[in-house]
Structures are given as structure tokens and as C-alpha cells.
């Protein structure tokens, strides 16, 4: 579904999760929150971020908050997240048990 001019997201069935395209900054913050608010309730949630060029610190913090709130028995798998997100995770959340980065 189109989420404004700069961020698009589509459900993916296999693996279960979202496929996103675009950028996450101040202008797409609400749309990104909406994506994270509609994550499937599966034990493993996959986010294909290979087509997301940039995510700012707030965008990464929203993802971390979603992962922290999800419960210890669930796993968030980030596929090819943008370098900016990895830099922010390294600075502020070097190890979140429920987040796994797949490259």
C-alpha cells in the first residue's frame, strides 16, 4: 500500500512480515509507525528493508520499541537494513535480544 510519497510497504506471506520501499524520516514517521503497528503476530516477523535507502534515529527507535514490546518469545528479523539503521543500532542498542539482522 502507498504510504505517502516516500514510503511504501506491502505484506509478505512467506516469510511473514512486511516488504518496505523508500525512506524513513520525519516526513514518513507516521507511516512507519503504522507499519510497525500492524506487524503480524507470528513468532518470527520478517522486515525486508533491502529497498529502504535511509532510516533516521527516530525511525530506528520506533522499531526497537516495537521489538522490545513484542515479548521475549518473538523474533524480529531485519533483512538488509540500510547502513544508517545499523549505525544507529550500533550506537544505542548494540544488542536487542529480539532483533536479528540478516544480510
Amino acid at each position: 500500500m502507498p504510504l505517502g510519497r516516500l514510503l511504501w510497504a506491502a505484506h509478505s506471506a512467506d516469510p511473514t512480515g512486511w516488504w518496505c520501499v523508500g525512506e524513513v524520516d520525519f516526513t514518513t514517521r507516521d507511516e512507519w509507525s503504522a507499519v510497525l503497528g500492524e506487524l503480524p503476530r507470528a513468532s518470527d516477523v520478517h522486515l525486508d528493508l533491502s529497498q529502504v535507502r535511509f532510516i533516521d534515529a527516530h525511525g530506528t527507535s520506533l522499531l526497537v520499541a516495537a521489538a522490545q514490546d513484542a515479548g521475549a518469545d518473538r523474533r524480529f528479523v531485519l533483512h538488509h537494513p540500510p547502513a544508517a539503521m545499523l549505525r544507529v543500532l550500533q550506537q544505542f542498542w548494540p544488542s536487542v535480544p529480539t532483533i536479528e539482522v540478516a544480510r
Binding site: 520525519f26 534515529a57 527516530h58 544508517a84 544507529v88 544505542f92
Partner: protein, 315 residues
């Protein structure tokens, strides 16, 4: 006017003495006494000092060096705004419940005139950042090499002064005056700067234009990632906290990309961007991230607005 310190008047658990040294012998005498006292008391000890002094301490410690966290301040603390969150709190926070001691030398002779005001403000803000905490931070000052005004500022930023004659209270201790007096207007961007006006609906386009500029001047892929975050966080802060709009200027000098962001905001908390954010709270990390990634952050802020001057290595 110096008064002798006795053990009885120590009610504040945080200690922040300056160590004035004239040569390597005085440097080692002062720093090693501080380090060994910590090791004997089983306190975690870190040393973050310029490269040559780090090697002096490492060699003098010998086998004891393994028990001390040794960091190069010219790397870890290149940006003075990074030292509190990225060096001092980063170390103290890994030892909760224990008294911690750190040798921190943020000011050395090669610090530029552009960097120095941020260094002095950093030294002043350590006092507010660590008040009430079980921490000792010893700050060496090379009185042979540093200009007199920097040594004079150290009297205002440190409540205790140590030199070859002993340990004394500073009669000139007044850290708030240093924070205020170095909150100075910054030079206007040069005539060759790229100047971009932005507001909420042009934030993304302005970031893209700025990144095209950074790529064109040959910034490495690694630095481009940092630069894009720095630009995104600063211009977003202007839109959210700085009156909804601002001006981003970019230019290059001395192998660095220089950014300047002007907006109508007023940063009233001088510790903004210097304290670690609670891990479970989203947001509120913009200026902290900028401090962590940049080589220099200077701020001039007041009722008239805020100017951020940021420098980042190209390679």
C-alpha cells in the same frame, strides 16, 4: 586564593580535580597515583588521554595496564560533545554500584581555536553531568604547552586543583560562567557555501541535495552514512524544536565537511545531546547521535535562535 582541602569537607561524592603538570615526570606522578589508588581500592579505572600521553601511561603501568581501560582521547573524544556520553558515561555505566575513576585529558596543545570553546564547555558541564555520582575524573593540563587562558579556564571548571605543590580548592570555580562565556556567535558560512532553506515538506529533498554535495566532494561511503544521519537529525530538530524551518549551509575546509544549521530555536538545557538516552524510550536522540558521529559540534544558542556548526571528516 587557594585553601587547603581536608577530608572533612568532602560531602559531594563526585570528584573533578585538574592536574597541572609541567613535564612527563609530573604527569606520571599525578596520573599514576590516581590510577594506583583506584586499583588498590578495586575501583574500575579508565584512562582517556592524547596518544603520546597514553603511551607514557601504558609503559609506566607495565603489567598493570591490563587492569585499566586505555583509550585515545584524540579518537574517542575528538568531538568534545561526545566525551560525556561516549567516553565517561559509557565507562561508568558499565560498572553500576561501584565507584569509578577516570583520567580524562580533553585539551591538548594541537586543539584548534575552533575546537577549544567546545572543550572548555565540556569541562564545565562534567560537573553538572556527574553531580551526586560516585565518580572521580582527573583532568591533566599541560601548563608548559597550553596558553594561559586555557589554564585559567581550568580553574573555573574544576573545584579542586592539583599541582607539584599539592591539592587545593579552586577559588575561581564557576563552571556556569564558562558555559555562558563560550556560547559565542559563530562565523558566517563562507561565500562558497551551498545554502539550502528547509521546512517540514522540503526536509527530504534538502537532505538529498546535501548528500549529492557530500558525494561530489569525494566523501567516503562510510562517512556518507554518518553525514546523512547528522543532516537528518539536525534539520529535523529545527523543524520540530526550532520554529519549523531553518537554513542548512555546507562547505569544505581542511579535509572536513562543514555543516551549519540556523534556526529560531533556543536550546535551554546545556546538557542536551550529552547524556545517554534511556534505552526503552523512543526519540530524543538526535543531538546525542550528532555528538557521537561528528568530529566537532559547536553551538551558539539564545533567544535570538540557534546556530549549530558541525565538522565531519571526508575520508
Amino acid at each position: 586564593m587557594l585553601a587547603t582541602v581536608t577530608a572533612d569537607d568532602r560531602t559531594e561524592p563526585f570528584e573533578h580535580p585538574a592536574l597541572f603538570y609541567r613535564d612527563a615526570d609530573e604527569y606520571l606522578a599525578g596520573t599514576l597515583a590516581f590510577i594506583y589508588e583506584g586499583l588498590v581500592r578495586d575501583e574500575p579505572v579508565a584512562v582517556s588521554v592524547p596518544t603520546a600521553n597514553l603511551e607514557l601511561i601504558r609503559a609506566a603501568l607495565g603489567a598493570s595496564a591490563d587492569a585499566v581501560r586505555l583509550m585515545d582521547m584524540t579518537v574517542e573524544g575528538r568531538n568534545p560533545g561526545r566525551i560525556i556520553p561516549g567516553v565517561l558515561r559509557a565507562f561508568t555505566d558499565t560498572h553500576p554500584g561501584k565507584r569509578v575513576r577516570i583520567v580524562g585529558e580533553p585539551i591538548w596543545a594541537d586543539r584548534s581555536e575552533t575546537e577549544y570553546p567546545a572543550c572548555a564547555q565540556h569541562e564545565a558541564l562534567i560537573n553538572a553531568a556527574f553531580a551526586g555520582r560516585e565518580v572521580s575524573i582527573l583532568c591533566p593540563y599541560n601548563t608548559t604547552e597550553l596558553p594561559a587562558h586555557m589554564v585559567a579556564d581550568a580553574h573555573a571548571t574544576h573545584p579542586i586543583l592539583i599541582d607539584h605543590s599539592g591539592r587545593n580548592h579552586s577559588g575561581a570555580y564557576d563552571p556556569d560562567s564558562i558555559v555562558a562565556s563560550y556560547n559565542r556567535p559563530l562565523p558566517a558560512p563562507p561565500a562558497d557555501a551551498m545554502v539550502l532553506e528547509f521546512e517540514a515538506n522540503t526536509l527530504t529533498r534538502v537532505r538529498h541535495t546535501a548528500m549529492a554535495y557530500a558525494r561530489d566532494i569525494g566523501m567516503s561511503e562510510y562517512r556518507l552514512v554518518d553525514a546523512e544521519l547528522i543532516i537528518a537529525e539536525t534539520i529535523t530538530n529545527s523543524v520540530v524544536h526550532g520554529g519549523g524551518r531553518g537554513t542548512l549551509s555546507l562547505w569544505t575546509r581542511d579535509g572536513q565537511l562543514c555543516f551549519q544549521v540556523d534556526d529560531a530555536g533556543h536550546i535551554t538545557n546545556p546538557l542536551a545531546g550529552r547524556l545517554p538516552a534511556p534505552p526503552r524510550v523512543p526519540g530524543g536522540r538526535g543531538l546525542l547521535l550528532v555528538n557521537q558521529l561528528a568530529e566537532l559540534v559547536r553551538i551558539h544558542t539564545g533567544q535570538q535562535g540557534t546556530v549549530l556548526h558541525i565538522r565531519q571528516a571526508l575520508i
